[in-house]
Each structure stands twice: as structure tokens, then as C-alpha cells.
Amino acid sequence: MNKLIQELQQAAAERETRRHFLHTCSTGLGAMALSSVLGSCGFFGKENPQSNAVGSALPSGEPTAPHPSQYIPKAKRIIYIHMAGSPSQLELFDYKPELAKYNGKDCPQALLEGKKFAFIRGTPKMLGPQGKFAQRGQSGAWVSDYMPHLQGVVDDISFLKAMHTDQFNHAPAQLLMHTGSARLGRPSMGSWVTYGLGTENDNLPGYIVLASGGKQPDAGKSVWGSGFLPTVYQGVQCRTDGDPVLFASDPSGISRDIRKQTIDAISQINQQQYDEVKDPEILTRIAQYELAFRMQMSVPDAMDIKSEPQYMLDSYGVDPNKGSFARNCLLARRLVERGVRFVQLFDWGWDTHGTSADGSIDIGLKAKCQESDQAVAALLNDLKQRGLLEDTLVVWGGEFGRTPMQENRDGQTLPFMGRDHHLEAFTVWMAGGGVKKGFSFGETDDIGYYGVKDKVHIHDLQATILHLLGFDHTKLTYQFQGRPFRLTDVAGKIVKPILA
């Protein structure tokens, strides 16, 4: 193996000018060689730290402003918890006693004119907050009784209460959140991060996705796709049924030992082939087969939570035999512990319109909170206890918010209490690596309709996340269709006040 690595490095050095995908990058795209490749190829300004790689595609800023330096990362890895469908901020974090006063009254026309809603038609009625709010922890963060466990960890959290987006349908809003664009085809945040940082663990994919709630997010696999980036950077979905990674299990009747022998045979013959034809790609292939073999061991191992002690399972509220959001939270900890760079959780079922009991804010939302609250709090505590929270960023949120009005789908009164999609205001929180503890940023108006102070757009959130991971979001770019692309498109401002 040592000899192989040496040869690989030598071959890589010989091919320094190869433009395989990153104009000046060497070697093939093996994940094994990724971190070293990425570290050495100067793909975002390393060659020339002063170069403004994306300036050409940007509207002019201050031409004389100093170029920001490269940052030292505060977070080395990230767990992004996406509550697909979008939880109601008005029931959970954004306490609006004024809204209670208007409960049942017609929505003022001023709030409706020129607005488009996914389902609200005509004049809906206002709907007061359904949760019971109180200030929690030292920091006095407002959290409702829907999330009793989270109340205990608020002093580790920074709330962004005046988030806003451009999209009021699930799929485009999720795409905007994760790829920076509402249209399909752009790389996801996790792809950008693995493209930029590589992976810390050679035996596991650098970007892993776990989904719960019975369905994939509305926007499908595109929210963890690599878009125009090479496919090595796409998220690998670890599935809750069947193989955790597709085709990671040996076929029935082929034992580990036999698989080891076949990989050895393949490597030996490939080595002989290399000796004959000297194609360095063969060395990469040998390395990839050996990595595949190790992944076959390490992925199931990482995914096997039965090895966790019972008290740990209890603290997350996990039934080890069932796929669940709580299980995914525990898995997320196991994965970041093993050096996975980007763990993306999706939990489906937060879309509470009021069309059914499950999809209501008084019954369904409460149930979703009960399913998830304990696990999220446990995850933060667990990370903290292991000293991982310092350099692990945890992000929690949906793709948009929910209206202060009760939904009246197609002008009808719905059987349950619900709120429509709302793009003007919602809450996202972050904890860990590089963000302030026990902090709240941004305010909405008295009824939670508009952000009125310290608004944060999706692109700002993305810029901030990249910043915490050590990137200047304007310089993490990739040349495609004749221009450099980036996660934050042509926008994005770092939310500096929340940085620790």
C-alpha cells in the first residue's frame, strides 16, 4: 500500500498540468487523493491570493475595497437539519402576543395586496400563536412549550428571527436554500463544501445525507446533487432500508474474505497492467478499489447504532430497529465524529396547512416537535460533551416560514388549524462552531408578517455558513458555461453579529 501511495504521488506530480476538471489540478478525481489535490491546485485564488476570480461576473462593488483574506475556519464540519415542509416560526420561536389579539379577525387588505400565496385566496382570518411561550435559559430566548427539550439548550444557540426568501413553493424554496438558486442544476452547499475542503476520513464519503419522515424532500435528490460540479462531490444518501450506501453490501454468497481476495486479485492484475502501459489512472483505480473495500466496512459500521450504549439511545429517544429522525440525529453525531464533513438531515412532514390532523399546527406540528425535540437537544448536548460542538456547526430550519393568517384554501374554511407558506419571515437557528451562544438576531413586526430589523436572506445565511467553514463565498467558484459560478450567485452578506 505504501508503495502504491508513493507511485500515485509520483504519477500525480508528473501530471501537474493536467486539466482534468479543475483547470490546474493534477491527478484523477479519486476521493482518496481529493484533499491533497484540492490543497495543492489553487483553484480559488490560492495561486494568486489577490485574484478576484469572480469579479467578472459581478456587479461592481467598491473597486478599491480591500480584498478579504482567507479565513481560519471556526467550523470543520456541519450538521444541517432541514425540516422539510417548513415549521411554523409563530408556534415555536417568534412570539407574537399582538397576533393573539387579532385571532379570528379578517386579515387587513394591506397585507394581501400584491401578494401571492400558495393557497390562501380572498380574505383569510388572522390566527394567534398556538404554543405557550416563555423565556428560557440565561439568555431568555423565547421558545414555546412545543419544544420542551430545546428549552434546555437555548444558551448554546443563535436564533435568526428575520430570515426571508424569494420562493413560496417547497421545491424551489428548498433548492434556493441548498443550491442558491430556485432552478434545478446548481451544486448543493454540501457539494461546494466538499469540493472546497475534501474529506477528513478516507473510508467514508465526505458528504452524507439522511432522510426521515417517510418521504424525500420535495425537490428530490437535487438538493444534495453536485449540479455542474463533478459527481464525486454529490451527497451520498445513506438509506435507512437496505444498503446504507448503494451497492455497499457484497452479493449474497460472497463473503468478506472472498471480496478481499477479489480486490487483491484486481489490484495485482491492475498493477501489472500499470507496469506495462504506465497510465497513472490505473493507480488511482487501484486506490479506489481499496477504498471501496474499506467503505464497505466503515459505512455499515458508522451506521450501526446498536453499538451505542442504551443510555445514549435513550437520551436521543431512539428505537434502534426503526428508521427515524431521532436515529438520524444520533447517526449524524457518529458520522461527524468519524470525520464526515457535511451531514445533511431532512425530515419530511412539517407542512402544516390545516387540511388534515397531521398537517395542522395544533396537532400535526405538535407531534412533529415531539418526535424531534428530544433528539435535537440530545444531539447538541452529545456534541458538546464530546468537545465536538466547538468546531461543528449545527443549523436548523425550514425552507420558508408560515403566515400569521389561517389558511383558507381556495376560499374555503379548512377543518384544522393551519398556516400557508410565507416568504417574508421565518426563524432559523445555528449552534456550535463559530456562532454566538444564547443570542438572537433579527426582529419581525408585531404580528410576525415582515422582518423589521436585521433581516437575513438565504444567500446571507449561505455566505455565513461558508465563512464559518473558512471560505470567502465570493471566491469559492467553479467555471461553467463560460463564467464562474458560486453558491451565493451574485449576492450574500456575512451575518457578522452572530459570529462568536
Binding site: 493536467r18 478525481l29 476521493a31 467578472s56 459581478l58 473597486p63 502501459v277 479506489q288 467503505m295 458555461q481
Partner: protein
């Protein structure tokens, strides 16, 4: 004073001109394209180019660069570098003044070069790829005697055609020698995989090895070019460019039946439809005179754009997105130039302006597709019984119309209506809603007392209203009025019976001219139930049918319009009331419309010939005109890349100024010229030319000297060695294990796929595994869902096909290993290969050799054989001891139980190993 200044100036220019031409004797002229433009692009254009023109100075166009800047004087004075502000600013020491601002200064030799260029007159040159294709002279090789065939010479002996002359010429400059021809087994495998996507059979290889005739190889090439598999292989490539998929994309990503377009491609490649015609039919087949079904199906190329069926999305937004995608894809595919930048602003690097984007877009902006759920317009294929009725109707018209010419026109109009249900007005265009809504943001609906307007309808000669609608309401009536909500009543129409949407026909009184029409609903029984309208159309009356009532033949027409028919999306242009205007979108935002533009091509290219129509057809003919500098170059480069692994211009997607410089520019031009002139756009002739070259036939192994001098084989001193495409990896495994089905064409199939790949949030569509031979079709027939493409294809670098992808970047990942090791498709292939191996010998050595020959058409060398035999013996022993494991490995549906044995299990493991060897998944 003034006069003397002018005089002095003139004198000055005279002197510099003389001086520079004098210096020209000693100094090589600076070449703008290769020397100056790269410098400007790298250092200046970001601030002084298309997007930004800092200090009003831009270097993009000559007229801009020589015009006075903000200071009032030009920054470049041709012939006088010393007087040019540009040079002064490059050489200052004050960091606030020195250019490039906040960036390191240019190197002295770079500044010298710019100085020289300005002194020589600051001549602008067009980018090489924007200049017309001229056939360059073929470099001479060998000696005069060897060229005459009198003397032996290595070079003339090696070369087989002109391609080799260009390659050799360059190799000599770099002190490299070409490689000898690959052995025949390797060569036939290479050329078979390249031309048909499939490996040769053992018999084909043996025949070639035994054929001693001088043109043995050419015979193989000719056979491959005639093989039906040829069309399938090249269609596989084209599907990425056409962003072909079996679903519509976006959130819901429901199914779309457009496989007839895929089949059209296969036939077009197989019949070697000339590339110019191939292009015209795909871009504008519908605008050809009396288009055939095939020509209409070909326009599916641009109907592969995504359609958004999600609730609440605006059809116009996504119609616009589709049109923009068509513009970008047309440039990407045929012109190898990224045009998308100028959607928002003038191009930062290439000579295109913002306006020109929208002029070009205007060619595409007139099609009838409007992001509606039904994906119309479509071409309808009637069931046989209904086809007979269509014939009946046509015959009736022929008999009912007095003159044949008139009959022909009427038949054409009615047939067009029956086959495409166009022209029609989609209901999302209705406005002035009262008690009405665009239901799910898709189709118009109204409730009791509701109403709406249909704008600007020409009624002259169209006394029939066709309406497709449905409702749950009962005993409701819709009133159609002219000009005003309370204007004259044209018709009172009872709503259809509750149930499926139907097309109805209503006779209208004869009305002349263009009118606004008003629909109002009276629905007292069920006032809250929606009446939903999909579309309306106003048509002429069939000949011989009553004006004021629905006649027999009217009913036949209606029956056909309501008949179930298979459909495939096509392009059709709107005419009359349905013609669309095109406006510039300010900064690329479709909501902010700027000035109106009409169709035209960018000024940097040859103008369209005046006789060409200013529509898609004219555009398509312009694209394939001999004068167009890009189309042939781009096509030739793409085919070259497919064979050699890298294009002559590596950036196949970009031949513009940001693309990578060609390695063999003259060769590219030579091939482009031959492609257009000698070969008359025949792709088969082009490919034959390439694969017959000695360059292509070289062995692919490298020597240390080659690796040192040319690590990436840009100069081609050796043959191509690249990993197979996703399709070829799959098809080869099925072919060598004799599982591959020969079946061609038809709806896409669903081979074995792990559970849980498809999760459609709303519509619950699912992967229904195919049966019989459809389990083992070539990869290009696999059902392609954009949001969840077939996993092993994606792992081997297929794009998701949401947008046109011009080049697959080859990756080398552990997930690929897991596919070919463990994917049941590959395990099944290994098992079948093992059965074959067992039948081919007594000893493991014989069996393994037989298996390897089946895959690689040659024997394994002893050292490699020894590795596999060792593996075989170890596994056989294991399976002997664990018979239960044998059953687990081999027990699959359809397996022959009597054949199950430890030997077969061990051979299966050996075959599985063999199918994972680097040389097997690589084209050598």
C-alpha cells in the same frame, strides 16, 4: 493654431506608421489573438469589458477601446505606446493609479508586448474560431522520394491519411515519434466500442485476425458503420446534448413520453442523415414545407426542456425559462459558445451584446408550448381504428370541396388540427376574472356568476368554437358574448356532464374581424363547483357541414379529437393572433421587459442571407451554412473527443476566447472543411476518416519519455486510453455475458434497480421492473427520471439531464467500484459469463482464458492468469466447504438448479473479478 495642430498630428501619424513598418522588418508582428487577447482577458477585462466599463474604458470591441474614455481622450493611441494612457497606467508605481488595480503589476515582458502591439498599430483580430473555416495546406511528411513511393521512409510508411500529416508535423516539432499500430485484438475492440458502443464478438475478432487483405481494417470499420448498434451508440452521446429524459423535471417530475425523438435519433444516425439536415430537422423540422411525421418528431430536440407542473407556479415564467434554455442549448450544442452570459449583460469576453441575446431569443420565442401540464403541442398517433376514421374524414373533404387545390389546403388544415390540436388558446391566457381563479395556477376555472375575457380573437372565417373543459357542476350554462361583458350573445353552451374533460364543438354565428370575447357562467344548482376550461380554439367549418348546427362530419372530427392517442411533444410556431413579441429582459429578469426586438443573429458572425426567412428555419439554415465559422468545427471537435478522449479544443463546450486553445488548429480546420465540402456533412465519412488514421490506430501504452514530454497525450504520440462511458460499461457487461437484448426502439425500460430510488412526493409514480428481454436492453433505453436517474449511470458520470451537458467529466471513484462489484446487474452478468466459461474447457486455466477472450479477445499473459487461477482455487475450496454459500450466490430467478456447483460459484467470482479489471472497463 488649430490647423497647425492637425498638421502636426498628421505628420506624427505618418512618422509612426513609417517607423513601425520600418521596425517591422526586424520585429515579428504581435498577434492579437494568441498574444494580446489572453493578456487582456486575464488582467483587464474584468473591469474594462462587457459587464463593467470602469472609467468608460472597454477592451472588448475595437471601437470601444479606441474611443475617448472618461478622461476625454482614448487610452490607446494606435502607433504610439508612449502616448497611450493604458501603457502609462500599467507602469506607474503609485498603487492607487497603477493598473491592474489591487492586483500584481504585469510582468515587464507582458508590458513590452502590449507596448509593441500598440506601436505596431494596435490591430484587433477576430478570435480564430469566429473566422470562416479555410482549408489549410496539409503538411508534407517524409522525403520527396518517399512521397513519390520510390524510397522507404518511416513517416510515409506510418501515415495513412492527412490527419497523420498534421499530427506528425507537431510531434516532430516536439521531438516525439508516433507509436506503432495496436495489435489487432486491441484495435478491433477499440474501434468497435467507439463506433457501436459494444465490444466485438470473438468471431468478429477472429475474422479480423485471419483477414490478410490490405484493407482488412477498413472492412471492419465499414461493417461497424453499417451496424444498427452504431446509431444507438451515437444517440447515447446526443441524448446528453438534447437533455433527453423520460420525465418533465422540476418538483413533480412526472413522466413524459418523448422516446420517439430518441428513436428518431437512432434512425438518423444509422441512415447517416447529413449533419446539416440533422440540425435543421431538430431545430426547425416543423417549419419545413409539408413536414413529415419524422421531421416533426425531430423537433423534440427542443421539447426536452423541463416543464413545471407544480401548483402555484406561473406558466409564463417557466415557458420563458424553457425558451432561454433553448437559446443557450442551441449555442452550446451547435456553436460551442456560451451565450448564457449575455442574458443579463453584454458578454464579458466574447463579442456579443446584451441586445443580441434577445434578438436571437426572438427566433425561439414564438412556439406554442406554454408550460401547460399536457405538454402541448404534441403530435398525436391515432390507434389503427381511429386512423381509418382520419382517412375517412380526409376522403370526405376531398369529395366535398370543388377544386383539388382547395381540397388539399382544407385537408392540410384539418389534418394539422387532428394531429396537433393546434392552433388553440390555453386558458391561462384568459383575464378579467370575476368569481374565477387560475386553478392550481394552471387552468382557468369559474364558479356561479363568474366570468372572464378572451382577448383579441380573430373570428373571420372561424364559426366553430372548440372547447376542452370539465366540471362537477350540473345544469350549468356558459354564455359567450362579443366585445363587452354584456355584449351580443354568440352562444349559450350547457356545461359537459360531470366526468372526464371533453372537447366540445359549438357553432357560432358568422362574425368578421378581431374581437374580445367574454365567457360567463350560470350555475345555480351547484354554485361552488368549479367549471374548468383547458383551452379554446376557433376554427373554420368543415366543408359541407351546416353553418348553424353540428353536422355528421363535425361529430366525426370531435370523436377523433376526443380519442385516446399516443403523443410526443413537438415544436410549432404560432401565427396570426398567437404571434408573440420579444422584448429585452432588463438584467435578465423576465418580469422587467425592455425594448422590443426582432429576430437576428449577432453582428460578429456572417449575416443571414437575405433570402432566408427570419424564423427558426432560417436560423437553422444559417447555422449550417458554409460561412458559419463554428458549426462544423464544433461538430468535428465533438466527434474527435468521443474517439480520442479529449477534443482538439479540450473545452468542447467553449470555442470562444475563454476556451482552451486548440492543440492542432489546422487539423481542426482541415477536418471541418472536409466535413462540409468533401463529405457533405456525412458523419459516417468523418468518423471513418478519423478511425482510419494511423494516429487513431496507435497502441496506447506510454513510455517514460512520452509521459515526460506529453503526460496527457495532447500531441497523440500514442493511442487513446480512456475509461468507458456509463453506457458502454453497462452494455459491455451484458454483451460479453450474452445477456444483451438486440431489441431496438420503443418506450423506455426499467431494468433491475434497488428499491427506494424513486420517491415522488405527490404523484406516486413508481419503478415497475420490466420483464423479459426488456431487463437487458442497452443503457440508452433505460427510463430516465431527472430527479432520480438510474444510479449506476450517474455513478459513472452521466448528467441528470436537467440541462444540456456538453462534456462528461470522467471521475474515478470508489462508488464506481461498488457498482461493478455488487450491483445485481453486474453479478448476474458475471454468473452468465461463468456458465459460458464452464462450457469452454476442463481446467480452470482453460475456462478463465475462454472467459477473458470473450471479454478482451486475447489471451491473458501467464502472470495475470496465475492471479486469477489462484483466486479461483481459493474460492472453489471455500465453496466446497460451504455449499450453502453456493446456493446463496447462484440462486436467482431463472437459474438452472442442476448447474449449481462450487465450480460455477468460483467461476462467477472469477468473472466478477474479470469484469472489474482496469483494462476491461477501459478502452485501450
Amino acid at each position: 493654431m488649430k490647423t497647425s495642430w492637425v498638421l502636426f498630428g498628421a505628420l506624427g501619424i505618418g512618422t509612426t506608421v513609417m517607423l513601425s513598418s520600418f521596425l517591422g522588418f526586424f520585429e515579428k508582428r504581435v498577434d492579437y489573438n494568441t498574444q494580446v487577447k489572453p493578456l487582456l482577458n486575464k488582467n483587464c477585462i474584468v473591469c474594462h469589458g462587457g459587464v463593467k466599463k470602469a472609467s468608460d474604458f472597454s477592451l472588448l470591441f475595437k471601437h470601444e477601446a479606441l474611443a475617448p474614455a472618461k478622461s476625454g481622450k482614448p487610452a490607446i493611441i494606435p502607433g504610439d505606446a508612449d502616448a497611450s494612457e493604458m501603457i502609462r497606467r500599467l507602469t506607474l508605481s503609485d498603487p492607487d493609479e497603477r493598473m491592474p488595480l489591487d492586483h500584481p503589476a504585469l510582468k515587464p515582458d507582458e508590458i513590452d508586448l502590449l507596448r509593441k502591439w500598440i506601436d505596431q498599430g494596435a490591430e484587433w483580430g477576430d478570435h480564430w474560431a469566429y473566422q470562416p473555416v479555410q482549408k489549410p495546406e496539409v503538411p508534407k511528411i517524409g522525403t520527396l522520394w518517399s512521397r513519390l513511393g520510390i524510397a522507404e521512409n518511416d513517416e510515409t510508411n506510418w501515415a495513412t491519411n492527412e490527419i497523420d500529416h498534421f499530427i506528425l508535423d507537431k510531434l516532430k516539432q516536439d521531438g516525439l515519434k508516433p507509436s506503432p499500430e495496436a495489435d489487432r485484438a486491441t484495435l478491433i475492440r477499440r474501434v468497435s466500442l467507439d463506433l457501436t458502443g459494444l465490444p466485438p464478438t470473438e468471431k468478429e475478432a477472429a475474422d479480423f485476425l485471419a483477414d490478410k487483405s490490405a484493407n482488412a481494417y477498413e472492412k471492419v470499420v465499414d461493417r461497424l458503420l453499417r451496424s444498427p448498434a452504431y446509431g444507438e451508440r451515437w444517440t447515447g452521446m446526443w441524448l446528453d446534448l438534447a437533455r433527453y429524459a423520460d420525465t418533465k423535471g422540476y418538483e413533480r417530475d412526472p413522466g413524459r413520453k418523448i422516446w420517439r425523438y430518441r428513436d428518431w435519433l437512432i434512425k438518423a444516425f444509422n441512415e447517416d442523415k447529413p449533419f446539416d439536415q440533422f440540425t435543421i430537422e431538430q431545430l426547425a423540422g416543423d417549419l419545413l414545407p409539408n413536414p413529415t411525421d419524422d421531421q416533426l418528431v425531430a423537433t423534440g430536440f427542443h421539447r426536452n426542456t423541463m416543464t413545471n407542473d407544480e401548483g402555484g407556479t406561473q406558466d409564463e415564467e417557466f415557458r420563458t425559462a424553457a425558451v432561454i434554455d433553448r437559446v443557450n442549448t442551441t449555442w452550446d450544442v451547435f456553436q460551442g459558445t456560451t451565450f448564457a452570459c449575455i442574458q443579463c449583460h453584454s458578454h464579458p469576453y466574447d463579442p456579443f451584446t446584451h441586445d443580441e441575446y434577445y434578438k436571437y431569443l426572438a427566433f425561439f420565442n414564438n412556439t406554442r408550448d406554454e408550460d401547460v401540464t399536457s405538454d402541448t403541442p404534441t403530435l398525436r398517433f391515432y390507434k389503427p381504428a381511429d386512423s381509418l376514421k382520419v382517412l375517412d374524414l380526409q376522403q370526405y373533404i376531398a369529395s366535398a370541396v370543388p377544386t383539388p387545390k382547395q381540397a388539399q389546403a382544407t385537408i392540410a388544415q384539418v389534418t394539422h388540427l387532428l394531429r396537433t390540436v393546434e392552433p388553440k388558446i390555453n386558458s391561462h391566457d384568459f383575464d378579467q376574472y370575476v368569481n374565477a381563479s387560475l386553478l392550481d395556477a394552471k387552468y382557468f376555472g369559474f364558479q356561479d356568476k363568474g366570468s372572464c375575457r378572451i382577448k383579441n380573437v380573430t373570428l373571420t372565417g372561424r364559426p366553430r368554437l372548440l372547447i376542452k373543459w370539465g366540471t362537477k357542476a350540473t345544469n350549468a350554462t356558459v354564455t359567450l358574448r362579443q366585445d363587452k361583458p354584456d355584449g351580443p350573445i354568440l352562444a349559450q353552451i350547457p356545461t359537459p356532464k360531470p366526468g372526464k374533460d371533453t372537447v366540445q364543438m359549438i357553432a357560432l354565428p358568422a362574425v368578421q374581424g378581431r374581437h374580445n370575447l367574454y365567457l360567463s357562467l350560470n350555475s345555480p344548482e351547484k354554485p361552488k363547483d368549479w367549471v374548468q376550461i383547458k383551452w379554446v380554439a376557433f376554427t373554420p367549418v368543415l366543408p359541407g357541414q351546416p353553418q348553424n348546427a353540428i353536422g355528421e362530419k363535425d361529430k366525426l372530427l370531435l370523436e377523433l379529437l376526443n380519442a385516446d392517442a399516443e403523443q410526443t411533444p413537438i415544436m410549432l410556431d404560432g401565427s396570426g393572433d398567437l404571434v408573440r413579441e420579444t422584448h429585452i429582459f432588463e438584467r435578465g429578469n423576465w418580469m422587467v421587459k425592455g425594448k422590443r426586438v426582432s429576430p437576428d443573429v449577432p453582428k460578429s458572425f456572417p449575416a443571414m442571407e437575405p433570402k432566408l426567412p427570419k424564423n427558426r428555419l432560417g436560423l437553422a439554415r444559417w447555422i449550417v451554412s458554409r460561412e458559419h465559422p463554428l458549426t462544423a468545427r464544433v461538430a468535428v471537435n465533438r466527434f474527435w473527443e468521443q474517439l480520442f478522449g479529449t477534443g482538439i479544443v479540450e473545452t468542447v463546450e467553449d470555442m470562444g476566447t475563454q476556451g482552451i486553445q486548440p492543440t492542432h488548429r489546422e487539423l481542426l480546420d482541415y477536418l471541418a472543411a472536409e466535413f462540409m465540402e468533401t463529405d457533405q456533412w456525412s458523419v459516417k465519412k468523418l468518423l471513418k476518416r478519423m478511425v482510419l488514421s494511423a494516429t487513431y490506430r496507435q497502441q496506447s501504452s506510454a513510455t517514460p519519455e512520452m509521459l515526460a514530454k506529453d503526460p496527457f497525450n495532447k500531441l497523440l504520440a500514442r493511442g487513446p486510453r480512456v475509461r468507458l462511458s456509463a453506457e458502454a460499461v453497462h452494455d459491455q457487461a451484458l454483451a460479453v455475458s450474452k445477456l444483451l437484448s438486440q431489441k431496438m426502439y420503443g418506450p423506455s425500460v426499467m431494468p433491475i434497480q434497488p428499491d427506494g430510488i424513486w420517491q415522488s412526493p405527490y404523484d406516486g409514480e413508481s419503478w415497475k421492473q420490466s420483464t423479459g428481454e426488456d431487463l437487458h436492453r442497452r443503457a440508452l433505453y433505460t427510463y430516465w427520471k431527472r430527479t432520480a436517474p438510474y444510479p449506476s449511470m450517474v455513478t459513472f458520470d452521466s448528467p441528470s439531464r436537467e440541462f444540456c451537458q456538453l462534456r462528461r467529466l470522467r471521475t474515478n471513484t470508489p462508488l464506481q467500484a461498488l457498482v461493478t462489484l455488487n450491483d445485481p446487474v453486474y453479478v448476474e452478468a458475471a454468473e452468465h459469463l461463468a456458465s459460458y466459461m464452464r462450457s469452454q474447457g476442463q481446467t480452470p486455466e482453460q475456462q478463465i482464458q475462454a472467459g477473458f477472450r470473450q471479454v478482451m479477445l486475447r489471451d491473458l499473459p501467464p502472470k495475470k492468469l496465475a492471479v486469477l487461477v489462484r483466486l479461483y482455487r481459493a474460492t472453489e475450496q471455500y465453496y466446497r466447504q460451504k455449499p450453502g454459500e453456493v446456493d446463496k450466490l447462484l440462486d436467482r430467478p431463472g437459474a438452472d438448479c442442476s448447474a449449481v456447483s462450487p465450480q460455477l460459484a468460483a467461476l462467477t467470482v472469477t468473472a466478477n473479478t474479470m469484469l472489474n479489471l482496469d483494462e476491461v472497463i477501459t478502452k485501450e
